[in-house]
């Protein structure tokens, strides 16, 4: 039987030691009428060879890289992952360990997560980062809850329409039950109009949630928006793209109070949507209101520098219903991947990657407009993705690209009849691929 050790003879000796006659007797605690009493109805077991063949068969019915060139965006991106990221994340001392409750047995993970927190602070300019959350959508929800704790306002959260629609749905799901209104502020021009935002924010608003670059790829007037939130006594929550920070101003530069992100771009494969990495960093003064694990530096009894799970009094296993969140773990292995990725890129690599995305995306947008006649849905500055107007419907545009070997999307519904399609261009895309995409979409 798979992965089991006990031989029949050993089982016998162990049962004798326990004082039980049969394995079945060990389950006497479970009343007979509650037992299943039949085998589970599951597919038959497979050996390793059969399993591999089965999985390869399933995988072959999916279309991944390189059969199809990926211009898909909307929160998950086909960025390059250096081999060293996979090599480190494959160390079984990392991936088969658990939450580092025993600091003496977990200094490797603890130090790596302390370095992760530092790297995220360096990346964002924020004062403090936690050791990660599930993914980008729940990171926004956790930030909203945190803003409610910091401001003492529990009735209203304002979210720009240009925030990822799935993140908005997550926030609505999380807040529906606690009686907090989620007010969505329309962004018909593709970015927020600060005056319209100011009209919504009031002395009941816990936070304003901004995504920058936003779901449409466009750059928001971040300084005006954070100032507007703060003028109303609310917190400015900004969901950023970590890779954009090789080029764009950091959240701290435009005075974000809480900076959150989907960290998938930092060396994590797309793997059909997860596991990904939620980032959450904030002003230092809010540290005790933060959700999630925090790693702290201290010394051991010999005075050696070491690292521990810190400020656990915020967490569910200590505070139970009064905890700052119900989250029980971080996304340790994904945080490790991000730390290795950032250490490999460094400031110069991050800038190069960001500039390549930006240059190639603008080349693609220019060519699509000039040669294929596909104009941008919004006339706004963007970073690495943009929305093209789909005059004959998004489905038709996506389908034409797909037949030529290119994936575009997801679809953007911008209100009214206006439908568009996101096109994301990472540093991996070549000019040749872009040119072929443009040719395929040129009537």
């Amino acid at each position: 039987m798979a992965y089991l050790f006990n031989t029949a003879a050993q089982q016998r000796r162990m049962l004798d030691a326990v004082g039980a006659a049969t394995l079945d007797e060990l389950f006497d605690q479970i009343p007979a009428k509650l037992r299943l009493g039949r085998p589970l109805d599951l597919p038959p077991p497979l050996t390793e060879i059969e399993l591999e063949s089965h999985l390869r068969g399933l995988a072959a019915r999916n279309v991944g890289q390189p059969e199809r060139v990926c211009f898909l965006g909307g929160g998950s991106y086909d960025h390059f992952i250096p081999a060293a990221v996979d090599a480190i994340a494959s160390r079984s001392e990392f991936y088969t360990a658990y939450t580092p409750y025993q600091a003496e047995a977990s200094q490797g993970s603890l130090q790596a997560f302390f370095e992760f927190q530092t790297l995220i602070c360096q990346l964002t300019g924020m004062g403090v980062s936690n050791a990660s959350l599930y993914e980008g959508g729940t990171a926004v929800s956790e930030a909203a809850f945190m803003a409610m704790r910091v401001t003492g306002r529990h009735k209203k959260v304002a979210v720009l329409e240009s925030v990822h629609p799935e993140y908005r749905l997550v926030v609505e799901t999380y807040l529906q039950q606690v009686g907090c209104d989620v007010v969505v502020i329309p962004t018909p021009g593709g970015i927020a109009a600060p005056d319209a935002v100011r009209q919504v924010l009031d002395d009941q608003t816990a936070c304003l949630v901004v995504q920058h670059p936003n779901f449409f790829g466009a750059l928001e007037p971040t300084r005006e928006l954070t100032a507007a939130a703060q003028a109303a006594g609310a917190l400015a929550v900004v969901s950023f793209d970590p890779l954009s920070l090789g080029l764009l101003a950091r959240p701290a530069d435009y005075a974000a109070d809480i900076a959150v992100a989907e960290g998938q771009a930092l060396g994590i494969p797309m793997q059909y949507g997860g596991p990904y990495l939620g980032l959450l960093a904030c002003r230092e003064e809010f540290v005790r209101k933060m959700p999630g694990r925090l790693i702290g530096q201290t010394v051991d009894r010999m005075g050696r520098r070491c690292f521990v799970l810190n400020l656990q009094a915020r967490e569910q296993h200590i505070r139970r219903e009064k905890a700052t969140s119900n989250i029980c773990t971080n996304q340790g292995l994904m945080a490790l991947r991000a730390a290795v990725y950032l250490a490999l890129l460094g400031p110069a690599g991050l800038r190069e990657a960001a500039e390549l995305c930006c240059r190639k995306a603008h080349y693609a947008a220019g060519q699509l407009a000039q040669r294929a006649g596909l104009r941008l849905l919004f006339d706004q500055p963007f970073f690495k993705e943009f929305v093209v107007h789909a005059p004959h419907g998004a489905a038709s545009l996506i389908s034409r690209a797909r037949q030529a070997g290119f994936d575009l999307g997801p679809v953007v519904a911008a209100g009214g009849e206006r439908e568009g399609v996101l096109v994301a261009v990472t540093e991996k895309r070549s000019r040749d691929e872009i040119d072929r995409l443009v040719a395929a979409l040129t009537p």
């Binding site: 004082g19 079984s92 130090q111 039950q177 920070l245 950091r250 050696r304 219903e321 994904m334 460094g346």
Partner: protein
């Protein structure tokens, strides 16, 4: 062999001008970035990340890894966590082209193999739970709890009922009350009987028309199956409430008993526990939920559905249930972990899963029998897949559960979970799992016996062979240092660069 320089921080190794990753020059026509990105959006300089070469990054993290204990290197009997072997085949298969490189927004027609896998996973979990509606979306057990509570709330709302209270025993995982609070419920903690079971009398006094959900871990966190489970479920249902089974301990009962058959209306699975997704030093996990049919239409979307083709065979589709609570995260779920869980279920099959639970329970009972002469188990001499011993009796000679836990590290064993559940004094929660040998269990038992013969003062100073010993957690909390900061530059070091 340990590298003594390995605990330098990345930032301390940094030298200006060093590089690891280098990207190609742009192959598109050069143009000034300023033309596209207005100056007010630009950073003055890139973030001050460390500057390192690839060899030093690799050596750094590989050396760090050697400071960890892990399932692949050590016996890891961490109670409640089910630290079983993580099969290597899962890592290869989850990394296959056509699985690891799928974008979540690809059209359904291009991910039919993935959707079939996820559909089958839903079906298998439904069968194991005895509950037909499955959502794979929750990212972890705690999120599964929250999701199920939101589903329950939506169901009550749909019936025009206002129910405000979630009940749970005092032995519950901390996530139960925390999830209930996030879901907007009032929390009511119930007393346990002296044996650690749900106190029916106390339950009765708190049940009423305001009861929404009773959350119970079964087997409970003491490793015991609730003897009155049928009565408990009946009492909760009689007042119109729902029963939630915290599935953290499914490793004891998979293939033996099903939450849906013993009164549960909803449950979560910890794929990273029972179905051996690697724990990753604290995640990622996956916390799918299974619910009764009347709750299915409230599940978060999307779920995978199957349609029969007129020409034979099936197609698989993403569907959002009619009265869905919405989303609890972006995209489908922690698919990479679900794929590993799928591989495990397909490897074991029904007989393998039953053998898994039987051997998990046998190993736990054997270890209990070997240890109870020195570490009494207040809940008695039988357990399910784990048991909670008490080191209370050692207090008089100044030895605590923590001392034993720390000293075990010197013997090459990860410590059990200590000081949980809260209802046992000096608790040591031990879960060996089925993927350990009798020889390992004997060696662990011998180590405990040897440790308990040691001098108390020596134990206070343990561990003696670990990279560090007894970090000052009070200092860490009082003066939090949560990131590295550059030391003030002295003229000399500035010059040296």
């Amino acid at each position: 062999m340990r590298n003594l320089q390995s605990t330098q921080l990345l930032f301390e190794c940094s030298q200006p001008g060093r590089r690891a990753a280098v990207f190609p020059a742009a192959d598109v026509p050069p143009q000034a970035i300023d033309e596209w990105i207005p100056c007010e959006h630009r950073a003055a300089s890139p973030p001050p990340l460390p500057e390192l070469t690839e060899p030093e990054v690799v050596r750094h993290f590989v050396n760090l890894s050697t400071l960890n204990m892990s399932v692949d290197t050590h016996f890891y009997p961490l109670g409640s966590c089910t630290m079983k072997y993580n099969p290597k085949r899962h890592e290869r298969l989850a990394g296959l082209h056509g699985i690891v490189d799928l974008h979540p927004s690809q059209p359904e027609a291009d991910v039919q193999g993935m959707l079939e896998l996820l559909y089958t996973m839903q079906e298998m979990l439904a069968e194991i739970a005895g509950l037909p509606g499955v959502s794979l979306q929750p990212a972890a057990g705690a999120q599964g709890e929250l999701t199920a509570l939101l589903v329950a709330a939506a169901w009550f709302r749909s019936r025009g009922e206002t129910r405000t209270k979630v009940l749970f025993p005092d032995s519950a995982h901390g996530t139960n009350p925390a999830s209930a609070a996030v879901a907007g419920f009032d929390c009511v903690q119930l007393k346990s009987t002296p044996r650690g079971f749900v106190d029916l009398a106390d339950l009765k006094t708190h049940l009423g028309s305001d009861t929404a959900v009773f959350m119970v871990t079964n087997p409970n966190t003491l490793g015991q199956f609730e003897p009155n489970m049928t009565e408990i479920a009946q009492m909760v249902h009689d007042v119109g409430g729902l029963v939630y089974i915290d599935g953290a301990n499914m490793n004891a009962i998979t293939g033996v008993a099903r939450p849906g058959d013993f009164g549960g209306d909803m449950q979560h699975f910890n794929v990273h526990k029972t179905f051996t997704g690697p724990h990753g030093a604290g995640g990622p996990g996956a916390g799918p939920i299974a619910v009764r049919s009347f709750l299915t239409e409230f599940l978060p979307g999307p779920i995978v559905t199957r349609r029969e083709r007129p020409t034979g065979g099936f197609t698989w589709h993403l569907t959002t249930p009619a009265r869905s609570i919405g989303r609890v995260r972006s995209f489908f779920g922690n698919v990479g972990i679900l794929v590993r869980g799928y591989c495990y279920l397909r490897t074991l099959g029904a007989a393998g899963l039953l053998a898994m639970s039987q051997n998990a329970v046998l190993n736990a009972n054997y270890l209990l029998a070997r240890l109870q002469d020195v570490l009494p188990v207040p809940q008695g001499d039988r357990c399910m897949h784990e048991f909670v011993a008490s080191a209370k009796g050692l207090k008089e000679r100044g030895v605590s559960a923590m001392d034993i836990a720390k000293r075990l590290l010197d013997f090459g064993f990860h410590a059990p979970t200590v000081y949980f559940p809260l209802v046992v004094a000096e608790a040591m929660m031990i879960e060996p799992t089925e993927t350990e040998s009798k020889e390992t269990l004997d060696a662990f038992s011998d180590a405990i016996h040897a440790i308990l013969a040691e001098d108390a003062a020596f134990l206070h100073d343990a561990p003696h062979a670990a990279p560090i010993c007894r970090p000052d957690e009070v200092r860490a909390a009082r003066y939090p240092i949560l990131k590295w900061t550059a030391p003030p530059a002295s003229p000399e070091t500035a010059h040296a660069h």
